[in-house]
């Protein structure tokens, strides 16, 4: 069978590898999604909600200091950090929230790695009046206490997942285990452009608002299209979001930047499209490039950025990689901290560690480009709210001293 003609397939990737008990749930979800997609009023309501609740359209900031520093292309930054809850994740959850309301369900569940998607889902649930349960790997719960704090304060139940590597992929498995029990009244708000059809396509649709805005903004500010667009790629939702604004413009290079971790040759990374540790596989309901061993068992991954620390990649991006439409690169943990420092000092902007991966590659390429050319970096999220993670990554001595003192205070010493 020619898989590329089958719904939910992108070239040879994607599909819907789900247990039979979820078949009917997916039939209904696909119907609700397709109805919403046909209904112009749905998208209009979505855009209005995002304007009123999440500061959209987010600005496209001209980074003159960085441009001067590299002496090449004019650098523009798409400010997804200015969304409510500080990242592009808000786009997807609010869109799915509208869909859940349309389907008449009363409860939402979600997985989260760093906690970004969990916090975003918890805000959405609070706003729409849904019950909310968030699955989060035990290791991530320990690493990301501030996000757990906010999810709980927003009224969500956070369930630490103690199985497997106790990270994002295990949280996804656990969310599916909840869903096969609770599907009658519960929707699973998958956080990225992965998983079984229609999730990749549906999440990409909600995130396409980034690219739609960025295209208009660059034409207005620069007078023509950018030469290159850079985005970090974990699951791939922010990348798909901005890339969709330029997919049909063959002259615009699209560059996805994966987590190079401690280096592609160390085995401690999360790069699926570059490096040689990933292979085609099927897990978590879809077919893509997975970091796995020769038997098909998933490998442990590493990244300084929890949001990129994942074994699979969007089937849509895997296909765009096959066709050459998207070029993939990797940035190491060390390069990420350097790019983060430079961006803070030059522009007063604090990217999330995830987003800083895109900055690394843009900084490598900017000097080779001409002064009349533009590049866009998608800044998927802000870093200042991740102060515990970033201060730890910088190994900052005065921060550590503060934490030790606060710890002693809490311990009553």
């Amino acid at each position: 069978m020619d898989r590329s003609m089958q719904k939910g397939y992108f070239g040879r990737w994607g599909g819907s590898f789900i247990p039979e008990v979820l078949h009917q749930t997916f039939v209904e979800l696909r119907r609700a999604y397709e109805d919403a997609r046909q209904d112009p009023a749905f998208w209009q309501e979505y855009v209005e909600l995002m304007a009123n609740y999440s500061c959209r359209p987010t600005p496209l900031t001209r980074a003159d200091n960085l441009s001067r520093h590299f002496g090449g292309a004019q650098i523009f930054i798409k400010r997804e950090d200015l969304n409510h809850t500080g990242a592009h994740k808000a786009n997807n959850v609010m869109g799915q929230g509208l869909l859940v309301r349309r389907m008449g369900k009363k409860r939402v569940i979600a997985e989260t790695g760093a906690g970004q998607h969990g916090v975003a889902t918890a805000t959405m649930a609070a706003r729409f009046g849904f019950d909310c349960t968030i699955y989060m790997g035990e290791e991530d719960v320990a690493r990301q206490r501030p996000n757990v704090f906010w999810m709980e304060k927003l009224g969500a139940t956070v369930v630490p997942v103690k199985d497997g590597a106790r990270t994002l992929k295990d949280a996804i498995n656990e969310a599916f285990r909840d869903w096969v029990t609770s599907m009658d009244d519960t929707h699973y708000v998958l956080g990225t452009v992965c998983g079984p059809h229609p999730f990749p396509e549906m999440v990409a649709w909600f995130q396409s608002i980034i690219g739609q805005e960025a295209r208009l903004q660059i034409l207005e500010q620069h007078g023509r299209l950018p030469e290159r667009v850079f985005a970090c790629v974990g699951g791939g939702s922010n990348a798909m979001g901005i890339f969709q604004g330029f997919l049909d413009d063959a002259e615009v290079q699209l560059v996805g930047v994966e987590a190079g971790g401690k280096g592609l040759d160390t085995g401690e990374h999360a790069s699926r499209m570059v490096g040689d540790r990933a292979a085609p596989g099927v897990a978590q309901g879809y077919k893509t490039m997975f970091l796995q061993d020769e038997d098909g068992q998933m490998l442990d991954t590493h990244s300084i950025a929890a949001g990129l620390d994942y074994v699979g990649v969007s089937p849509i991006l895997a296909d765009l990689g096959d066709s050459g439409r998207v070029r993939f690169e990797a940035a190491t943990d060390r390069e990420v901290l350097e790019a983060l420092t430079l961006t803070m000092r030059s522009e007063g902007i604090i990217p999330a560690l995830e987003s800083a991966h895109a900055f690394v590659q843009a900084f490598k390429e900017a000097p080779q480009m001409d002064a009349d050319q533009a590049l866009i970096i998608n800044m998927s999220g802000r870093g200042d709210k991740d102060i515990f993670t970033i201060a730890h990554a910088f190994d900052d001595p005065s921060w550590k001293e503060f934490i030790i003192r606060r710890g002693e205070e809490y311990a009553g010493r």
Partner: protein, 257 residues
Amino acid sequence: MNLQSDLAQRLEEKPILLMTHLVLGYPSFEVNREVIRQMADNGVDCIELQIPFSEPMADGPVILKANQDALARGVKVRDCLEFAAGMAAAHPGINFLFMTYYNIVFRYGEQAFLDHAARIGIRGTIIPDLPPEEGADFHARARAMGLAPIMFFTPTSTDERMREVARQGQGFIYVVARRGVTGAPTEMDAGLAAYLQRCRRATDLPLAVGFGISRPGDVAMLTGKADMAVIGTATIRLVDERGPGAVGEFIASLLAA
């Protein structure tokens, strides 16, 4: 004889058949061997041999942990295939089926996996994350080779869906007794009986009912309504708590009720 005829023949002699399950390499192949011997000696008809996978999304905590422990001990797919070959040869009276997740088959190669399974005397495959839409080719090839692809009915399946699913199946239908994952109890009530009647109308294949079947009373209740009871998590729990020696008595008690 194909699996369906074999089961039909067995059903002429007893009111309900039994399928049991174990995770290969958990807690060890030695224990697996002893457990299988006790199962065979006490009248089990089919045994699911689960090849461990790192992401067993349809399994509950007990089987999930068994998968992880087996992998942590270094169990490889080739070890599982080798062990299964030995068991199939040692116990010709048992129908052995491979249960696993699709990535294991995909990585091994669909055809290579089927060839290997057929060669060592495996009778069928149970792959919970390979629905008819994705598995049409694989299931057709398996059927052509006489390896029964086992399909699932669930309480959420419509009548139409059941008929559609059954068309790709052979051997028997795995009837999931309730929503959820493996391991939690199932209430034996009027709703279940009506559901089983609905399953019966949708197919001529024998019905094997699993998920939450753990006590003699559960098996007795299924007798007359289903063709085979599937015991999964319960034996793994038993071996964890009381060792492989307890399995024979447990199996015998299920059939005595």
